[in-house]
Amino acid sequence: MSDLDELYQSVILDHNKSPRNFRKLADASAHAEGRNPLCGDVYDVWVRLDGDVIQDVSFEGQGCAISKASASMMTQAIKGKTIAEARTLFDRFHEVVTGAASGALPGKLEVFRGVSAFPIRIKCATLSWHALKAALENQKS
């Protein structure tokens, strides 16, 4: 598979066209905005917690296929997880897309491995994850 085919796999194109959990969360317990000043992409991420568990998570905003698909698949991956589990997943996702670690990403997130061949696009893939992390931190304080 070429770098290009690996980056734009059909699952990424699908999530770009039909992002999941793409809505505002009315009764959110935490929210943060992720902004990439380099390209102007901006996403809002909302989470609703039940104790330590991420009961629901959603996002809205606009940006490239990588950032949108990443946000969409992130919401699917962390729904029902605890805050600690989401953090661990963020760290794992970050180290794989930056090329700092090898090994597989859990489930469908594996499609983002291809991003490591395009260093300038790493920020696109991690934008919503950083927003999620900020939202969870805001919530704590």
């Binding site: 290009l4 734009y8 194109l13 390209c39 102007g40 296929a65 395009f118 696109c124």
Partner: protein, 424 residues
């Protein structure tokens, strides 16, 4: 070896006849054009971000470090004198190239951004009073916006805008209406870094001078594409960068009319810009030295000199005609890509153009093009007010230079069709 494009035909498709630009000969001077990117010959369409460098510039910088390195205006030794002579020769060369009235009107800076900050801080800082107005156009690069924000905050001056029309041109009628007795500064770009739109500086200067305002021109994008005649366009300040004019990074120019420079205070203090220094006060050298504190970027000035020597030898009528034709052909060819929209298509333009592809984010398109060896810029191009004006967050930008070819325009279009294939 990368195959070179055939030289342009004498009688072109667009019917232009005139001096012929020998693009193959120019390409042979640029070593980087032999590179391959991801298995494809490099198609460099990002000259508006920075131009590639000819061998002549690269070798001049190496030669300086290998055989001529010394500080300027300091030593009595031979090397320092040689460096000083070359440093001042380049100033004369720049004054001649841009047709300044005198070499002392040319100040070396780090680049266009530094030049514009210098004008804002020194000129703006000394003349602006609370309520005075600075007019800036909606198509400015952030480097001709933020320096004015900074000085307006400090002085209490007010920023007003000059609107951009749908065609991509400046609304000159609106500019005339917004000029008034409080207008002190009109800051406009000579050519838009996004759309390539050329602004009629001469007409703008006439209007501004009528109300006693000065005109500050961002020439970063015009200097590489137009034969700029500073006395003819009659602006008061003009800023440009060496690296977009086939020279090194880290060196730029600020032109200012001598009478204005004479009245301006220094921007930065340090060595080389003084007349006399006491422990509690100092007096300053005349322009241009007054504005060149510290050891300047000497190797970069030497490289800029080589670039100016190189481009001064060009047949500019042929180059301008060639680039105009490339831009026209690109405009026509891009129109065949489904869903592609060019921004500001109606204006007179240098060979820089921005476009959007319906349903595809510019960064995704840029990445697909990159896998084909095609370098374009994707993003807001440091021109967020212009993006807002046209209701987009980002565009793709293809910009051409003296070494760009028709074949490369074809590759760009093929690449964009491939983008369409990936994203539907």
């Amino acid at each position: 070896m990368t195959p070179l494009a055939a030289p342009p035909p004498r009688e072109s498709r667009t019917g232009r006849s005139g001096p012929v630009w020998d693009v193959a000969r120019v390409r042979a001077d640029f070593p980087i054009l032999q590179r391959e990117i991801r298995g494809h010959p490099l198609v460099y369409l990002d000259s508006a971000a920075t131009a590639q460098k000819p061998r002549q510039v690269i070798e001049a910088v190496s030669r300086y470090y290998e055989t001529g390195n010394a500080n300027v205006h300091r030593g009595v030794h031979a090397l320092s004198q040689e460096a000083t002579t070359e440093y001042e020769r380049v100033r004369h060369l720049a004054a001649r190239f841009f047709n300044a009235a005198d070499p002392s009107e040319i100040i070396y800076t780090a680049g266009t951004t530094a030049s514009l900050n210098l004008v804002a801080q020194s000129y703006g800082g000394s003349v602006l009073q609370p309520g005075d107005e600075i007019l800036i156009s909606e198509m400015e690069h952030h480097s001709n916006i933020i320096p004015w924000h900074l000085i307006a905050e400090r002085t209490g001056a007010v920023i007003r805008s000059i609107p951009v029309m749908e065609s991509g041109g400046l609304d000159l009628a609106e500019l005339e209406r917004r000029l008034g007795p409080r207008t002190r500064i009109v800051a406009v770009t000579h050519a838009s870094n996004v759309m390539g739109a050329i602004n009629p500086i001469n007409a703008i200067a006439a209007m501004a001078h009528e109300v006693g305002a000065v005109v500050v021109v961002d020439g970063a994008q015009s200097a590489p594409h137009l034969r700029v005649d500073l006395q003819a366009i009659d602006c008061d300040f003009f800023a440009c960068s060496g690296h977009k004019l086939y020279g090194p990074t880290g060196i730029g120019l600020l032109y200012g009319k001598r009478a204005l420079l004479d009245a301006m205070p220094p921007w930065q203090g340090g060595g080389g810009m003084i007349r006399e220094v006491q422990i509690d006060r100092s007096s300053y050298a005349a322009p241009p030295e007054r504005f060149e504190a510290g050891t300047p970027p000497i190797a970069e000035v030497v490289g800029l000199g080589a670039a100016l020597d190189y481009v001064t030898a060009w047949d500019w009528e042929a180059l301008v005609g060639y680039e105009q034709e490339l831009a026209a052909e690109a405009t026509q060819a891009l129109a065949t890509v489904p869903g592609l929209r060019i921004m500001g298509e109606g204006a007179d333009r240098v060979s820089v153009l921005s476009f959007t592809l319906e349903g595809v984010h510019p960064h995704d398109a840029g990445t697909v093009l990159d896998t084909l060896g095609i370098a374009v810029r994707a993003g807001h191009h440091c021109a967020q007010p212009l993006m807002r004006r046209f209701g987009v967050t980002a565009t793709l930008r293809a910009s051409f230079g003296a070494y760009s070819t028709e074949a490369e325009v074809g590759k760009l279009v093929d690449g964009l069709l491939q983008v369409r294939k990936v994203f539907g």
